[in-house]
Symmetry: C2
Subunit: 233 residues, 2 copies
Protein backbone atom coordinates (compact mmCIF):
# COMPACT_ATOMS: atom_id res chain seq x y z
CA UNK A 1 0.00 0.00 0.00
CA UNK A 2 1.39 3.36 -0.99
CA UNK A 3 2.05 6.21 1.39
CA UNK A 4 -0.80 8.15 -0.11
CA UNK A 5 -3.00 5.12 0.47
CA UNK A 6 -2.11 5.07 4.14
CA UNK A 7 -2.63 8.77 4.37
CA UNK A 8 -5.95 8.44 2.64
CA UNK A 9 -7.00 5.82 5.12
CA UNK A 10 -6.00 7.96 8.07
CA UNK A 11 -7.71 10.86 6.49
CA UNK A 12 -10.92 8.90 5.98
CA UNK A 13 -10.81 7.59 9.54
CA UNK A 14 -10.34 11.05 10.96
CA UNK A 15 -13.09 12.47 8.76
CA UNK A 16 -15.38 9.82 10.16
CA UNK A 17 -14.33 10.65 13.70
CA UNK A 18 -15.09 14.28 12.95
CA UNK A 19 -18.59 13.60 11.66
CA UNK A 20 -19.25 11.28 14.61
CA UNK A 21 -18.17 13.88 17.11
CA UNK A 22 -20.09 16.59 15.31
CA UNK A 23 -23.23 14.45 15.31
CA UNK A 24 -22.80 13.84 19.01
CA UNK A 25 -22.52 17.57 19.64
CA UNK A 26 -25.62 18.16 17.55
CA UNK A 27 -27.60 16.33 20.23
CA UNK A 28 -26.79 19.18 22.56
CA UNK A 29 -26.57 22.40 20.61
CA UNK A 30 -28.53 22.49 17.36
CA UNK A 31 -27.21 22.91 13.83
CA UNK A 32 -26.72 26.66 13.83
CA UNK A 33 -24.53 26.62 16.92
CA UNK A 34 -22.44 23.73 15.78
CA UNK A 35 -18.84 24.78 16.29
CA UNK A 36 -15.84 23.55 14.34
CA UNK A 37 -13.62 24.47 17.28
CA UNK A 38 -15.69 22.49 19.75
CA UNK A 39 -15.37 19.40 17.57
CA UNK A 40 -11.61 19.84 17.42
CA UNK A 41 -11.46 20.35 21.18
CA UNK A 42 -13.37 17.15 21.86
CA UNK A 43 -11.08 15.26 19.51
CA UNK A 44 -8.03 16.65 21.26
CA UNK A 45 -6.86 18.47 18.15
CA UNK A 46 -5.81 22.05 17.82
CA UNK A 47 -8.56 24.18 16.37
CA UNK A 48 -6.44 24.96 13.36
CA UNK A 49 -5.63 21.33 12.58
CA UNK A 50 -9.21 20.42 11.81
CA UNK A 51 -9.29 22.88 8.96
CA UNK A 52 -7.12 20.45 7.01
CA UNK A 53 -10.13 18.14 6.92
CA UNK A 54 -13.08 20.44 6.86
CA UNK A 55 -12.52 23.79 5.26
CA UNK A 56 -15.42 25.62 6.84
CA UNK A 57 -18.41 25.28 9.09
CA UNK A 58 -20.69 25.01 6.06
CA UNK A 59 -18.67 22.15 4.65
CA UNK A 60 -19.00 20.33 7.96
CA UNK A 61 -22.75 20.86 7.83
CA UNK A 62 -22.93 19.52 4.29
CA UNK A 63 -21.02 16.45 5.41
CA UNK A 64 -23.51 15.86 8.21
CA UNK A 65 -26.52 16.48 6.00
CA UNK A 66 -25.41 14.09 3.28
CA UNK A 67 -24.57 11.40 5.83
CA UNK A 68 -27.97 11.82 7.50
CA UNK A 69 -29.88 11.49 4.21
CA UNK A 70 -27.81 8.49 3.24
CA UNK A 71 -28.04 6.61 6.51
CA UNK A 72 -31.76 7.22 6.83
CA UNK A 73 -32.36 6.12 3.26
CA UNK A 74 -30.20 3.05 3.82
CA UNK A 75 -32.22 2.00 6.84
CA UNK A 76 -35.52 2.59 5.06
CA UNK A 77 -34.42 0.80 1.90
CA UNK A 78 -33.42 -2.23 3.94
CA UNK A 79 -36.75 -2.20 5.75
CA UNK A 80 -38.63 -1.94 2.47
CA UNK A 81 -36.60 -4.72 0.89
CA UNK A 82 -37.96 -7.25 3.36
CA UNK A 83 -41.20 -7.62 1.42
CA UNK A 84 -42.50 -7.33 -2.10
CA UNK A 85 -46.12 -6.63 -1.21
CA UNK A 86 -46.77 -2.97 -2.11
CA UNK A 87 -48.89 -2.22 0.95
CA UNK A 88 -46.36 -3.78 3.30
CA UNK A 89 -43.56 -1.90 1.57
CA UNK A 90 -45.42 1.35 2.05
CA UNK A 91 -45.88 0.65 5.75
CA UNK A 92 -42.24 -0.38 6.10
CA UNK A 93 -41.09 2.88 4.51
CA UNK A 94 -43.32 4.95 6.77
CA UNK A 95 -42.53 3.10 9.97
CA UNK A 96 -38.85 2.82 9.11
CA UNK A 97 -38.59 6.55 8.51
CA UNK A 98 -40.18 7.30 11.85
CA UNK A 99 -37.97 4.83 13.67
CA UNK A 100 -34.82 6.37 12.29
CA UNK A 101 -36.08 9.82 13.22
CA UNK A 102 -36.87 8.79 16.79
CA UNK A 103 -33.44 7.23 17.14
CA UNK A 104 -31.64 10.24 15.64
CA UNK A 105 -33.87 13.23 16.31
CA UNK A 106 -31.21 15.88 15.85
CA UNK A 107 -30.15 14.44 12.51
CA UNK A 108 -33.75 14.31 11.36
CA UNK A 109 -34.16 17.95 12.39
CA UNK A 110 -31.00 18.76 10.47
CA UNK A 111 -32.46 17.55 7.18
CA UNK A 112 -36.22 18.09 7.65
CA UNK A 113 -36.45 20.84 10.25
CA UNK A 114 -36.13 24.57 9.89
CA UNK A 115 -33.38 25.59 7.50
CA UNK A 116 -30.09 26.56 9.09
CA UNK A 117 -29.86 30.34 8.71
CA UNK A 118 -27.06 31.38 6.42
CA UNK A 119 -26.48 27.90 5.10
CA UNK A 120 -27.09 27.23 1.42
CA UNK A 121 -27.30 23.55 0.50
CA UNK A 122 -24.94 22.63 -2.33
CA UNK A 123 -25.87 20.25 -5.14
CA UNK A 124 -24.34 17.31 -3.27
CA UNK A 125 -27.41 17.02 -1.06
CA UNK A 126 -30.14 16.56 -3.64
CA UNK A 127 -29.18 13.07 -4.72
CA UNK A 128 -29.25 11.55 -1.23
CA UNK A 129 -32.41 13.53 -0.45
CA UNK A 130 -34.41 11.82 -3.18
CA UNK A 131 -33.71 8.22 -2.26
CA UNK A 132 -36.75 7.68 -0.03
CA UNK A 133 -39.18 9.51 -2.33
CA UNK A 134 -37.86 7.30 -5.11
CA UNK A 135 -38.97 4.26 -3.11
CA UNK A 136 -42.48 5.64 -3.00
CA UNK A 137 -42.43 6.38 -6.69
CA UNK A 138 -41.46 2.79 -7.26
CA UNK A 139 -44.46 1.49 -5.35
CA UNK A 140 -46.87 3.75 -7.18
CA UNK A 141 -45.50 2.55 -10.48
CA UNK A 142 -45.68 -1.07 -9.40
CA UNK A 143 -49.33 -0.97 -8.48
CA UNK A 144 -50.14 1.23 -11.48
CA UNK A 145 -51.93 3.51 -9.04
CA UNK A 146 -55.12 5.02 -10.40
CA UNK A 147 -56.67 6.62 -7.35
CA UNK A 148 -60.11 8.13 -7.68
CA UNK A 149 -60.06 11.46 -5.94
CA UNK A 150 -63.14 13.64 -6.13
CA UNK A 151 -61.04 16.78 -5.69
CA UNK A 152 -59.34 15.99 -8.96
CA UNK A 153 -62.42 16.38 -11.08
CA UNK A 154 -63.20 19.76 -9.56
CA UNK A 155 -61.96 23.12 -10.74
CA UNK A 156 -59.12 22.91 -8.24
CA UNK A 157 -58.00 19.58 -9.60
CA UNK A 158 -57.78 20.87 -13.14
CA UNK A 159 -55.88 23.99 -12.11
CA UNK A 160 -53.42 21.71 -10.34
CA UNK A 161 -52.05 20.03 -13.40
CA UNK A 162 -49.49 22.68 -14.40
CA UNK A 163 -48.13 22.57 -10.85
CA UNK A 164 -47.13 18.98 -11.32
CA UNK A 165 -44.83 19.53 -14.24
CA UNK A 166 -41.77 19.05 -12.10
CA UNK A 167 -43.03 15.81 -10.67
CA UNK A 168 -43.70 14.51 -14.12
CA UNK A 169 -40.27 15.56 -15.23
CA UNK A 170 -38.75 13.67 -12.35
CA UNK A 171 -40.97 10.70 -13.01
CA UNK A 172 -39.66 10.74 -16.55
CA UNK A 173 -36.10 10.68 -15.31
CA UNK A 174 -36.81 7.69 -13.12
CA UNK A 175 -38.59 5.88 -15.94
CA UNK A 176 -41.94 5.91 -14.22
CA UNK A 177 -45.32 7.09 -15.34
CA UNK A 178 -48.55 7.69 -13.48
CA UNK A 179 -51.65 9.75 -13.78
CA UNK A 180 -51.73 13.17 -12.19
CA UNK A 181 -53.80 12.07 -9.24
CA UNK A 182 -51.26 9.44 -8.28
CA UNK A 183 -48.47 11.98 -8.53
CA UNK A 184 -50.26 14.55 -6.45
CA UNK A 185 -51.28 12.06 -3.79
CA UNK A 186 -47.81 10.59 -3.68
CA UNK A 187 -46.36 13.98 -2.87
CA UNK A 188 -49.10 14.45 -0.32
CA UNK A 189 -48.33 11.13 1.37
CA UNK A 190 -44.63 11.93 1.54
CA UNK A 191 -45.39 15.39 2.88
CA UNK A 192 -47.61 13.94 5.55
CA UNK A 193 -45.09 11.33 6.57
CA UNK A 194 -42.39 13.90 7.23
CA UNK A 195 -44.86 16.35 8.75
CA UNK A 196 -46.26 13.85 11.18
CA UNK A 197 -42.85 12.67 12.30
CA UNK A 198 -41.81 16.29 12.78
CA UNK A 199 -44.94 17.07 14.72
CA UNK A 200 -44.30 14.19 17.10
CA UNK A 201 -40.59 14.84 17.37
CA UNK A 202 -40.75 18.59 17.82
CA UNK A 203 -43.35 18.38 20.56
CA UNK A 204 -46.30 19.91 18.72
CA UNK A 205 -48.53 17.05 19.71
CA UNK A 206 -48.24 17.10 23.47
CA UNK A 207 -51.64 17.11 25.13
CA UNK A 208 -53.18 15.88 21.90
CA UNK A 209 -52.29 12.28 21.27
CA UNK A 210 -51.29 10.06 24.19
CA UNK A 211 -47.69 10.56 25.20
CA UNK A 212 -46.72 6.92 25.50
CA UNK A 213 -44.56 5.44 22.79
CA UNK A 214 -47.17 2.80 22.01
CA UNK A 215 -49.94 5.38 21.61
CA UNK A 216 -47.86 7.59 19.38
CA UNK A 217 -46.89 4.67 17.21
CA UNK A 218 -50.49 3.49 16.95
CA UNK A 219 -51.60 6.92 15.86
CA UNK A 220 -48.88 7.19 13.23
CA UNK A 221 -49.76 3.74 11.94
CA UNK A 222 -53.36 4.83 11.60
CA UNK A 223 -52.26 7.81 9.52
CA UNK A 224 -50.22 5.55 7.25
CA UNK A 225 -53.28 3.34 6.74
CA UNK A 226 -55.43 6.30 5.79
CA UNK A 227 -52.81 7.47 3.31
CA UNK A 228 -52.53 3.98 1.86
CA UNK A 229 -56.27 4.02 1.34
CA UNK A 230 -56.02 7.32 -0.49
CA UNK A 231 -53.28 6.01 -2.74
CA UNK A 232 -55.10 2.79 -3.40
CA UNK A 233 -52.16 0.75 -2.18
Amino acid sequence: MSATGIRARNRAALLEAITETANRQLTQVGPSELSVRAVARELGMASSAIYRYVSSRDELLTLLIVSAYDEMAGDVERAAARTRDPHKRWMAIGLGSREWALAQPQRFALIYGSPVPGYAAPQDTIGPATRIPALLTGILQEVGAQPQVPAFTSRVGRSLQPALNDVEQWAGLTQTRFNDAALALGVMAWTHMIGSISSELFGHRHNVVGDSLADRRAYYQFELQVLAGLLGI
Copy 2:
Protein backbone atom coordinates in the same frame (compact mmCIF):
# COMPACT_ATOMS: atom_id res chain seq x y z
CA MET B 1 -53.26 59.64 34.30
CA SER B 2 -50.95 58.63 37.14
CA ALA B 3 -47.20 58.50 36.91
CA THR B 4 -47.31 54.74 37.00
CA GLY B 5 -49.80 54.88 34.15
CA ILE B 6 -47.44 56.90 32.04
CA ARG B 7 -44.59 54.65 32.96
CA ALA B 8 -46.68 51.64 32.10
CA ARG B 9 -47.46 53.10 28.73
CA ASN B 10 -43.83 53.84 28.01
CA ARG B 11 -42.95 50.41 29.20
CA ALA B 12 -45.53 48.79 26.94
CA ALA B 13 -44.38 50.86 23.98
CA LEU B 14 -40.77 49.92 24.55
CA LEU B 15 -41.67 46.27 25.02
CA GLU B 16 -43.41 46.40 21.67
CA ALA B 17 -40.40 48.05 20.08
CA ILE B 18 -38.26 45.29 21.51
CA THR B 19 -40.40 42.50 20.09
CA GLU B 20 -40.58 44.28 16.75
CA THR B 21 -36.84 44.65 16.55
CA ALA B 22 -36.28 41.09 17.70
CA ASN B 23 -38.69 39.82 15.06
CA ARG B 24 -36.87 41.82 12.44
CA GLN B 25 -33.57 40.31 13.51
CA LEU B 26 -35.12 36.86 13.38
CA THR B 27 -35.42 37.28 9.61
CA GLN B 28 -31.65 37.24 9.46
CA VAL B 29 -30.28 35.01 12.17
CA GLY B 30 -32.60 32.27 13.35
CA PRO B 31 -34.05 31.77 16.82
CA SER B 32 -31.07 30.15 18.46
CA GLU B 33 -28.71 32.98 17.56
CA LEU B 34 -31.12 35.69 18.58
CA SER B 35 -29.12 38.09 20.73
CA VAL B 36 -30.46 40.31 23.47
CA ARG B 37 -27.47 42.57 23.04
CA ALA B 38 -28.02 42.95 19.31
CA VAL B 39 -31.62 44.03 19.94
CA ALA B 40 -30.45 46.61 22.46
CA ARG B 41 -27.80 47.83 20.04
CA GLU B 42 -30.29 48.33 17.24
CA LEU B 43 -32.59 50.23 19.59
CA GLY B 44 -29.73 52.46 20.70
CA MET B 45 -29.94 51.25 24.28
CA ALA B 46 -27.16 50.02 26.47
CA SER B 47 -27.06 46.26 26.63
CA SER B 48 -27.77 46.38 30.32
CA ALA B 49 -30.81 48.64 30.01
CA ILE B 50 -32.81 46.09 28.07
CA TYR B 51 -32.67 43.70 30.99
CA ARG B 52 -35.17 45.96 32.77
CA TYR B 53 -37.70 44.86 30.18
CA VAL B 54 -36.69 41.35 29.34
CA SER B 55 -34.94 39.46 32.08
CA SER B 56 -33.28 36.83 29.90
CA ARG B 57 -32.93 35.55 26.40
CA ASP B 58 -35.47 32.82 27.10
CA GLU B 59 -38.02 35.36 28.24
CA LEU B 60 -37.51 37.28 25.00
CA LEU B 61 -38.08 34.09 23.05
CA THR B 62 -41.26 33.36 24.98
CA LEU B 63 -42.49 36.85 24.19
CA LEU B 64 -41.89 36.27 20.48
CA ILE B 65 -43.46 32.83 20.51
CA VAL B 66 -46.63 33.96 22.25
CA SER B 67 -46.98 36.94 19.93
CA ALA B 68 -46.51 34.72 16.88
CA TYR B 69 -49.17 32.24 17.99
CA ASP B 70 -51.54 35.06 18.82
CA GLU B 71 -51.11 37.07 15.65
CA MET B 72 -51.36 34.02 13.43
CA ALA B 73 -54.47 32.84 15.26
CA GLY B 74 -55.96 36.33 15.02
CA ASP B 75 -55.47 36.43 11.25
CA VAL B 76 -56.89 32.94 10.80
CA GLU B 77 -59.85 33.58 13.07
CA ARG B 78 -60.74 36.69 11.10
CA ALA B 79 -60.46 34.77 7.84
CA ALA B 80 -62.67 31.99 9.19
CA ALA B 81 -65.24 34.46 10.51
CA ARG B 82 -66.06 35.64 7.01
CA THR B 83 -68.28 32.66 6.35
CA ARG B 84 -70.44 30.20 8.22
CA ASP B 85 -70.31 27.40 5.70
CA PRO B 86 -68.20 24.63 7.28
CA HIS B 87 -66.35 23.73 4.11
CA LYS B 88 -65.50 27.33 3.35
CA ARG B 89 -64.41 27.87 6.93
CA TRP B 90 -62.09 24.90 6.67
CA MET B 91 -60.55 26.26 3.48
CA ALA B 92 -60.23 29.72 5.01
CA ILE B 93 -58.38 28.30 8.01
CA GLY B 94 -56.01 26.33 5.83
CA LEU B 95 -55.33 29.07 3.31
CA GLY B 96 -55.14 31.73 6.00
CA SER B 97 -52.57 29.73 7.95
CA ARG B 98 -50.42 29.34 4.89
CA GLU B 99 -50.70 33.00 3.98
CA TRP B 100 -49.55 34.11 7.40
CA ALA B 101 -46.67 31.65 7.24
CA LEU B 102 -45.53 32.89 3.83
CA ALA B 103 -45.66 36.46 5.04
CA GLN B 104 -43.81 35.70 8.28
CA PRO B 105 -41.67 32.66 7.56
CA GLN B 106 -39.25 33.14 10.43
CA ARG B 107 -42.06 33.49 12.95
CA PHE B 108 -43.73 30.38 11.59
CA ALA B 109 -40.43 28.52 11.94
CA LEU B 110 -40.17 29.81 15.48
CA ILE B 111 -43.41 28.13 16.54
CA TYR B 112 -43.64 25.15 14.18
CA GLY B 113 -40.05 24.48 13.19
CA SER B 114 -37.32 22.61 14.99
CA PRO B 115 -37.28 23.33 18.70
CA VAL B 116 -34.79 25.91 19.87
CA PRO B 117 -32.05 23.96 21.67
CA GLY B 118 -31.92 24.70 25.36
CA TYR B 119 -35.24 26.51 25.38
CA ALA B 120 -38.09 25.04 27.40
CA ALA B 121 -41.50 26.47 26.61
CA PRO B 122 -43.32 27.76 29.70
CA GLN B 123 -47.04 27.28 30.28
CA ASP B 124 -47.79 30.70 28.76
CA THR B 125 -47.47 29.32 25.28
CA ILE B 126 -50.00 26.51 25.35
CA GLY B 127 -53.09 28.71 25.41
CA PRO B 128 -52.20 30.73 22.30
CA ALA B 129 -51.00 27.54 20.60
CA THR B 130 -54.42 25.91 20.75
CA ARG B 131 -56.46 28.69 19.19
CA ILE B 132 -56.31 27.46 15.60
CA PRO B 133 -56.86 23.79 16.48
CA ALA B 134 -59.87 24.97 18.45
CA LEU B 135 -61.30 26.45 15.26
CA LEU B 136 -61.03 23.06 13.60
CA THR B 137 -62.65 21.37 16.56
CA GLY B 138 -65.51 23.81 16.23
CA ILE B 139 -66.11 22.88 12.61
CA LEU B 140 -66.06 19.16 13.33
CA GLN B 141 -68.59 19.65 16.07
CA GLU B 142 -70.77 21.82 13.87
CA VAL B 143 -71.04 19.28 11.09
CA GLY B 144 -71.31 16.40 13.55
CA ALA B 145 -68.59 14.73 11.59
CA GLN B 146 -69.02 10.99 11.22
CA PRO B 147 -66.37 10.03 8.71
CA GLN B 148 -66.25 6.46 7.49
CA VAL B 149 -62.64 5.41 7.46
CA PRO B 150 -61.85 1.82 6.57
CA ALA B 151 -58.65 1.92 8.63
CA PHE B 152 -60.76 2.46 11.70
CA THR B 153 -62.46 -0.89 11.59
CA SER B 154 -59.18 -2.71 11.29
CA ARG B 155 -56.96 -3.96 14.07
CA VAL B 156 -54.97 -0.73 13.84
CA GLY B 157 -58.06 1.36 14.27
CA ARG B 158 -59.07 -0.42 17.44
CA SER B 159 -55.61 -0.20 18.93
CA LEU B 160 -55.73 3.51 18.28
CA GLN B 161 -58.49 4.34 20.69
CA PRO B 162 -56.39 4.56 23.86
CA ALA B 163 -54.06 6.96 22.07
CA LEU B 164 -56.86 9.44 21.69
CA ASN B 165 -57.59 9.85 25.37
CA ASP B 166 -55.95 13.23 25.46
CA VAL B 167 -57.89 14.50 22.49
CA GLU B 168 -61.10 13.38 24.10
CA GLN B 169 -60.12 15.06 27.32
CA TRP B 170 -59.49 18.28 25.45
CA ALA B 171 -62.72 17.89 23.51
CA GLY B 172 -64.45 17.58 26.85
CA LEU B 173 -62.90 20.80 28.07
CA THR B 174 -64.08 22.64 24.98
CA GLN B 175 -67.57 21.19 25.29
CA THR B 176 -67.34 19.24 22.10
CA ARG B 177 -67.94 15.61 21.32
CA PHE B 178 -67.15 13.49 18.31
CA ASN B 179 -66.54 9.92 17.44
CA ASP B 180 -62.99 8.63 17.49
CA ALA B 181 -62.59 8.69 13.74
CA ALA B 182 -63.43 12.39 13.58
CA LEU B 183 -60.94 13.11 16.34
CA ALA B 184 -58.16 11.13 14.73
CA LEU B 185 -58.77 12.62 11.30
CA GLY B 186 -58.98 16.11 12.75
CA VAL B 187 -55.53 15.72 14.26
CA MET B 188 -54.35 14.30 10.96
CA ALA B 189 -55.71 17.25 9.01
CA TRP B 190 -54.08 19.72 11.35
CA THR B 191 -50.81 17.81 11.19
CA HIS B 192 -50.90 17.84 7.43
CA MET B 193 -51.68 21.52 7.23
CA ILE B 194 -48.64 22.48 9.29
CA GLY B 195 -46.47 19.84 7.64
CA SER B 196 -47.32 20.97 4.14
CA ILE B 197 -46.70 24.62 4.92
CA SER B 198 -43.38 23.67 6.52
CA SER B 199 -42.43 21.57 3.54
CA GLU B 200 -43.06 24.43 1.16
CA LEU B 201 -41.48 27.04 3.41
CA PHE B 202 -38.38 25.09 4.35
CA GLY B 203 -37.57 24.22 0.77
CA HIS B 204 -38.21 20.49 0.88
CA ARG B 205 -40.38 20.63 -2.19
CA HIS B 206 -38.05 22.20 -4.72
CA ASN B 207 -37.92 20.18 -7.92
CA VAL B 208 -41.17 18.50 -6.95
CA VAL B 209 -44.09 20.84 -7.26
CA GLY B 210 -43.82 23.83 -9.58
CA ASP B 211 -41.93 26.70 -8.00
CA SER B 212 -44.31 29.50 -8.97
CA LEU B 213 -46.51 30.95 -6.27
CA ALA B 214 -49.64 30.04 -8.21
CA ASP B 215 -48.59 26.41 -8.62
CA ARG B 216 -47.69 26.03 -4.97
CA ARG B 217 -50.96 27.53 -3.91
CA ALA B 218 -52.91 25.30 -6.28
CA TYR B 219 -51.20 22.24 -4.90
CA TYR B 220 -51.86 23.22 -1.30
CA GLN B 221 -55.50 23.89 -2.14
CA PHE B 222 -55.74 20.43 -3.63
CA GLU B 223 -54.42 18.96 -0.41
CA LEU B 224 -56.98 20.88 1.61
CA GLN B 225 -59.73 19.51 -0.62
CA VAL B 226 -58.55 15.97 -0.15
CA LEU B 227 -58.48 16.46 3.62
CA ALA B 228 -61.95 17.98 3.55
CA GLY B 229 -63.14 14.91 1.73
CA LEU B 230 -61.63 12.68 4.39
CA LEU B 231 -63.28 14.66 7.15
CA GLY B 232 -66.62 14.71 5.39
CA ILE B 233 -66.73 18.50 5.49
